[in-house]
């Protein structure tokens, strides 16, 4: 907040002060204003778009070749255990992020082609699975339990 006020004051000040301000700006850190409500709403809407895209992919047979979708076994993202990654994934023989397990499921049970890890599709899938575990305690490495997703009363489970 101090930075904001300083900035506004400087904007109406004289040349000497501007010189001083230039010095201030190059030496200070983190001068960005807090997000406004409108900006936050916009960011949230962008996230929800990704979650929705992930939901559609999650329930689409198009990722595989045998008709199955992620949602067959993981309704509402349940048992995807998004909050337990990264962890040792026995099928992969490596410490893996969620996206690697999603790709394993696409390739093996769905008999499909893995998504590029940085693709928008994969980011959307991760967004959906993670959003359906919002509020869960992060438990990286947890590999013994099957976790449900958030309890959903109505609608798609988000926002």
């Amino acid at each position: 907040m101090i930075k904001v006020k300083t900035h506004r004051f400087i904007a109406s000040a004289g040349v000497a002060v501007i010189v001083a301000t230039a010095f201030l700006q190059t030496t200070s850190v983190s001068a960005r204003e807090p997000f406004t409500q409108a900006e936050l709403a916009q960011q949230y809407a962008e996230l929800q778009k990704m979650v929705k895209m992930g939901d559609d992919l999650w329930h689409s047979g198009k990722l595989g070749t045998n008709g199955l979708a992620c949602g067959n076994c993981h309704p509402d993202g349940a048992a995807s255990n998004a909050h337990t990654y990264p962890k040792w994934q026995a099928q992969l023989g490596a410490v893996s992020p969620l996206r690697d397990m999603i790709n394993w499921c696409i390739e093996v049970p769905l008999a499909g082609k893995a998504l590029a890890p940085s693709s928008k599709e994969m980011q959307a899938m991760e967004a959906y699975a993670t959003y359906m575990h919002r509020g869960f305690t992060l438990m990286p490495g947890e590999a013994t339990m099957q976790h449900p997703s958030v309890a959903v009363k109505a609608g798609p489970g988000y926002p």
Binding site: H59, N66, G67, L68, G71, N72, C73, H74, P75, D76, A78, A79, A90, Q91, C105, V108, P109, T144, M145, Q146, P148, S149, V150, A151, V152, K153, A154, G155, P156, G157
Partner: protein, 341 residues
């Protein structure tokens, strides 16, 4: 495989421990016999109501119209396993979702596989069988979706529990789109299922003249209690069904749809879910009424894990047990030898 009669029955101590956990209501009904699960029940006691017998349950095959699909082989395995059961079941119930997208070709494939059963098949539909053509193909192939019969002193009644209110007309959905909404477990657009007025009336008439000590078994696709309505792990008019059946001393309810081990007891009715032959479903985010009746987490790398068949043994006192017969080791010790009924 696990179809042989277990040589070593559950010890009395193990059994009582589990029964105690299942609660007092269950204890009253089951404390008589120390045996549980798939057992060759002794001859009927003189003057008893039931001639002991057993029957098998297969459920939720979700066959796709894709040649050589992996689910075909799993249903075939279930059929082979049931055919090998000893003593041989008197008949087999299939509790719905033979197909996945409601196509006639899926149902025909399922019927072909199920025709290899050596014992009679009794079948009801699930939502996946129904909403492409509103049950036309299913009824054409299998007859009415609700039925009843008596067998060796037990009355069996089955209903179609997947009827939803019309959500498609207003949305102007095509049959394929309507089926798509129903295919998704958390398909929140379609709403809750039930058996509805017509079948409630039928059930009322069906059991009207039966004496209260008549053993009754009821079969539906969805559970007859509120488990997790979000996934239609419920039947909207289950309270009315339970009310109609409340006059009986003892009622057993077996259902599909949940693809998992789950047990409940409400009033005079005990209720058990069935393993699928397609995929297992995770437990929903609610407290289980009887947490010991729960299967282990399945291994996704073993596509037979989490799946299987089940067999119900009934003895002369209309007690007995349901034994889950998983394709891979799935049952914790408390229910390995079955669940007492």
């Amino acid at each position: 495989m696990t179809n042989e009669i277990p040589e070593k029955q559950l010890s009395r101590r193990d059994f009582l421990s589990f029964t105690a956990k299942l609660g007092a209501a269950s204890l009253v009904a089951t404390a008589v016999s120390p045996v549980v699960g798939l057992v060759n029940v002794a001859q009927a006691a003189p003057g008893s109501k039931v001639t002991p017998f057993n029957f098998a349950i297969i459920s939720d095959a979700h066959l796709y119209d894709i040649p050589g699909h992996k689910f075909d082989g799993i249903l075939e395995k279930a059929v082979e396993d049931v055919n090998k059961m000893r003593p041989a079941p008197d008949f087999v119930f299939f509790l719905g979702d033979l197909g996945q997208t409601g196509k006639r070709s899926e149902l025909e494939k399922g019927k072909r596989i199920l025709s290899k059963l050596k014992m009679p098949l009794k079948i009801i539909p699930g939502e996946h069988d129904w909403y492409l053509d509103m049950g036309a193909a299913w009824q054409d192939m299998f007859g009415t979706a609700h039925w009843s019969f008596d067998h060796k002193g037990v009355h069996f009644a089955a209903m179609n529990s997947i009827l939803v209110r019309d959500f498609w007309t207003v949305k102007k959905l095509s049959p394929v789109e309507r089926m798509g909404y129903m295919e998704e477990l958390e398909g929140h657009e379609a709403g809750l299922w039930g058996v509805r007025e017509q079948q409630l009336d039928w059930l009322e008439k069906d059991v009207n003249k039966l004496a209260s000590n008549m053993p009754v078994v009821v079969l539906t696709h969805s559970p007859l209690w509120d488990y997790y309505p979000r996934w239609n792990f419920q039947t909207e008019d289950a309270p009315q069904i339970r009310a109609i059946l409340s006059k009986f001393d003892k009622v057993m309810s077996f259902h599909g749809h949940v693809h998992q081990v789950v047990y409940n007891k409400i009033g005079n009715m005990s209720s058990l879910g069935s393993l699928a032959t397609s995929w297992p479903w995770p437990y929903p985010p609610v407290q289980l009424p009887f947490p010991d009746a729960k299967m282990n987490r399945s291994d996704p790398a073993n596509f037979l894990d989490g799946l299987g068949t089940q067999v119900v043994d009934l003895n002369a006192e209309f007690a007995g047990g349901l034994k889950y017969e998983p394709f891979a080791d799935l049952m914790p010790p408390a229910i390995k030898n079955g669940i007492k009924l």
